[in-house]
């Protein structure tokens, strides 16, 4: 199959998508978490971006029907999901501010390719290609396993953002109920890349790596050569290798290596990396330096560079605040026309952002579909099917957890 061309989502295509494909029922079930008479869903903030670029915050709905009616009417180019509040967000204006407080929201993560601009050499800004998409694969792998094994979360929904990044929704009950302080602690545990554009060395490690970093390093080691050295060729041009050398806190080594590399274009990044590693090891074991602080620093420097060039770059502000909104799954990206579909974390290396259905491809698929005996849903006639199925299954999981919780609570009340 050819990869699907980017194609802006026209209002006609959008409304076609919203009427035939958007999974309203599962969606409402998901956000409701089995609360009685849609209690959680009713108090959930949804906000819409309209084609006019107007941004409407604090919408809320009673259920599937009025949600669908409104979406069909507004035809939003983007839907954001916010927190569950103490009351219906649409009544916010009529309430005292102190009575309107966010109480729950999924723990969310946002990883965006633009944050990789200082390390990727293939593209920049909004564009992506197969080469840099691999950064997202590594990001999913590292964060997913940490959230599951370290924090014990089970219900993680990974979603393609429609263009150049991924989102993660941690839907476990204890994740939804986290205070801001706790969210911040989790983010700080997971965040390894620190510092803004004016800081060249963004990773500081201790000599003994924490088990979480050790595990992350194992994943990084699998990909580093392939992604960073071969695909991105970060030691290729002088402009790029000098950025890498800037992470080394030793002027002598920097000078030595840049003398070696200057003017010679014959060496590959892999060869240069070997030279760099050798140089670091040599300097660390040089006489008089063994076991010194400096030697330690040089030894760990190799790992710091590997982390800086491979470790996921999280948008920390998004995750730290219970109020923060995040683009909803199954939106359509207005520029690319791609649907924000779920990604299976255990199969994320096979996820291809260029194969994701676009609204226009769905339109064609539906037109080409030959009706059979059995009556099937529209989505089942198209390449959207596996994604919707996956989402259905995911929501079965979160609903089950919520039901069990309700049951155990009911029996306790007896």
């Amino acid at each position: 199959m050819d990869s699907k061309e980017d194609e802006a989502a026209t209002p006609e295509l959008l409304s076609f998508f919203y009427s035939r494909f958007f999974p309203y029922k599962t969606y409402v079930n998901w956000l409701n978490y089995e609360t009685e008479s849609n209690g959680a869903f009713k108090n959930r903030e949804l906000s819409f971006t309209l084609p006019s670029d107007a941004y409407l915050r604090y919408n809320s709905y009673n259920g599937e029907e009025d949600l669908k009616a409104e979406i069909m009417k507004m035809c939003p180019t983007k839907i954001d999901i916010g927190a569950i509040y103490t009351a219906k967000p649409k009544d916010k204006k009529t309430m005292r501010l102190s009575a309107f407080k966010p109480v729950e929201k999924e723990l969310i993560f946002d990883i965006d390719m633009t944050d990789y601009d200082e390390i990727r050499t293939c593209c920049s800004g909004a564009s992506i290609c197969y080469k840099c998409w691999k950064f997202m694969t590594v990001a999913i792998k590292i964060i997913d396993v940490a959230l599951r094994e370290d924090f014990g979360f089970k219900h993680l929904l990974w979603v393609y953002s429609g263009r150049r990044g991924v989102h993660c929704w941690v839907c476990d009950e204890n994740a939804r109920k986290l205070s801001n302080e706790r969210r911040a602690a989790i983010v700080s545990y997971l965040a390894v890349i620190k510092g803004g554009t004016q800081v060249s060395k963004k990773v500081q490690l201790n000599r003994t790596l924490h088990p979480f970093l050790r595990r992350s390093l194992e994943i990084i080691e699998k990909y580093f050569e392939d992604i960073v050295l071969k695909d991105q060729d970060v030691l290729g041009s002088e402009e790029n290798w000098s950025k890498v050398l800037n992470c080394i806190q030793d002027d002598e080594i920097i000078k030595k290596l840049s003398n070696k590399w200057n003017g010679s274009n014959s060496k590959s990044s892999v060869q240069k990396w070997d030279e760099l590693v050798n140089e670091l090891e040599h300097a660390a074991s040089a006489s008089g330096r063994k076991y010194s602080k400096k030697a330690e620093q040089l030894q760990i420097c190799k790992l710091e560079i590997m982390f800086q060039y491979t470790y996921p770059r999280l948008d920390e502000a998004v995750s730290k605040n219970i109020n923060h909104l995040l683009k909803s799954p199954f939106c359509v990206h207005p520029k690319t026309g791609r649907v924000c579909v779920p990604i299976q974390p255990d199969d994320c290396e096979n996820f291809d952002p260029f194969e994701v259905p676009t609204v226009s491809s769905l339109y064609q698929e539906l037109n080409l579909y030959v009706e059979g005996e059995r009556k099937v849903h529209d989505y089942e006639k198209t390449s959207l099917k596996p994604y919707i199925k996956y989402f259905d299954n995911f929501v079965k999981g979160t609903s089950k957890e919520a039901r069990e919780k309700n049951r155990s609570q009911a029996s306790m009340e007896f």
Binding site: A184, Q198, V199, H210
Partner: protein
């Protein structure tokens, strides 16, 4: 005499307890019940405040934990000595502990009223408790914890062995074989989690005894913050007219809320703590930003740049600048401050990045460049204020006579902002009367070209006046 009981009984249940203090450490769950003099009341409160204040500035100066502890021990011994039980022969333990107990409760009242005050108090008290807990000997500690019924599940020997690698990697500094681990929910040790200083698995944290202090301080913080919330609701019911002013006075002192402008003080060394006293020497633009900083606890980027470089120009060192801005931005977390502001401050002192040493902006560039947008406080009031606002501000800052006001505003209308600034200087420093009598065009001063020049002139002038006065 004031009965503490009448104050503190509002804050919670008064348990009947004998006035003996078996432990040096105290969770302050039981309010003191006794009468003390107003004098003692104030002395106790201010002494404890000295200690808390020292803790704050020690941690702001980012010394090592050891240095901070040393420093605090010195200050404590001076203002609020508190010795361990084994020092009983040499020290009046009962008295020390009574003072510790009562002073804590007085400050609790003084600092319960707003979120900001509570946050400040909790932070410093937790730090103090932490230092004391670490210093206490093992037996006393354990006895105290037993008494408070604080204990956590231990990791069994077998489990411990099976996790040996993970545990020792997460805590490389411990002696693994001697260590016991507690199993708690990760939420109980957020501080360790965020520093990756503990092994966590499936939401459980495995905390070594050496980090037990984090658990205990966590418990201390939890209880204290609950008690403060309770007290804040009880506060309005305190109407003892002897106590209220005392309490108000206490909590105001340490957030830099009231700045005393004393024209006669010329401080030679500019520090984070005495900037407030120098505001009287500042030109209008800097006065404005200073007032806004105190009011909003924040300034936007260009204002931080304009004001920050000015302060640098009058002699505020980079260390002091970090403290000054950290304290001033009182509503943000340390982490946010470190991440978003500390770099830029050091940068402006040439300590980061291109290591360019930036000099304070002159009037011309303040007036011409970077026009302030919504929410911006930088710029030059003469140029960037509406006439009405400028009028109000001039009146507030010492232009009392209508003719003076009119004179300045006329100059502003002619777009001679720096001349207006000079006029303002002359008027507020009372040079006006002595000079303009004879010749209207004559100025004692050269036109102000630089805010820092304004400052220097002002300081110089007050030195002259001082020496004349003392003759």
């Amino acid at each position: 005499m004031i009965s503490i009981r009448t104050i503190v009984s509002e804050t919670g249940e008064v348990k009947n307890h004998n006035q003996k203090y078996p432990y040096r450490l105290n969770f302050y769950s039981i309010p003191p019940i006794e009468e003390i003099t107003t004098e003692e009341f104030e002395v106790f409160a201010l002494d404890r405040l000295q200690v808390l204040k020292a803790i704050e500035s020690a941690s702001l100066r980012s010394r090592t934990e050891l240095q901070v502890a040393d420093h605090i021990r010195d200050i404590s011994n001076q203002y609020l000595p508190l010795h361990s039980t084994d020092g009983g022969k040499n020290y009046p333990l009962e008295q020390e502990r009574r003072k510790d107990h009562i002073s804590h409760f007085i400050l609790r009242l003084a600092y319960c009223r707003t979120e900001e005050l509570r946050k400040w108090f909790i932070k410093q008290e937790c730090a103090l408790f932490r230092i004391r807990f670490i210093e206490e000997n093992k037996e006393e500690r354990q006895a105290f914890l037993n008494n408070e019924r604080l204990n956590w599940n231990d990791l069994s020997q077998n489990e411990k062995e099976s996790m040996k690698n993970e545990l020792s990697h997460a805590n490389p500094h411990i002696k693994f074989n001697d260590e016991t681990f507690f199993i708690v929910d990760f939420e109980q040790v957020l501080d360790l989690v965020s520093r990756r200083a503990v092994y966590i698995k499936a939401g459980k944290a495995y905390v070594p005894t050496s980090e037990q202090v984090t658990l205990v301080v966590g418990e201390f913080r939890k209880r204290l913050s609950a008690a403060l919330n309770l007290a804040s609701r009880a506060f309005p019911s305190i109407d003892d007219e002897r106590i209220l002013p005392l309490l108000n006075n206490i909590n105001q002192q340490y957030l830099g809320k009231t700045y005393v402008y004393n024209n006669n003080t010329i401080v030679d060394k500019v520090t984070a703590d005495n900037v407030d006293q120098m505001v009287g020497h500042f030109p209008l633009c800097m006065q404005h930003m200073h007032i806004k900083l105190r009011e909003l606890h924040h300034l936007k980027h260009f204002a931080r740049m304009q004001y920050g470089l000015f302060l640098k120009g009058i002699g505020l060192t980079v260390e002091e600048a970090l403290i000054f801005w950290r304290k001033s931005f009182s509503s943000i977390t340390d982490e946010k401050f470190q991440k978003e502001y500390a770099y830029n401050i050091r940068h402006s002192y040439g300590m980061e990045g291109k290591r360019q040493d930036y000099s304070p902006l002159n009037c011309n560039s303040i007036i011409m460049n970077k026009q302030p947008g919504p929410g911006d406080q930088h710029g030059c009031p003469f140029k960037h204020f509406s006439e009405d606002n400028l009028k109000v501000f001039l009146t507030q800052t010492g232009v009392k006579k209508d003719e003076h006001l009119k004179a300045i505003l006329d100059i502003v209308k002619g777009k001679h902002y720096q001349v207006a600034c000079t006029k303002y200087f002359e008027i507020t420093k009372c040079l006006e009367d002595s000079i303009s009598r004879g010749d209207d065009e004559r100025h004692l001063m050269e036109t102000i070209k630089h805010p820092n020049n304004y400052f220097e002139q002002s300081v110089k002038l007050s030195k002259i006046n001082n020496s004349q006065n003392s003759k």
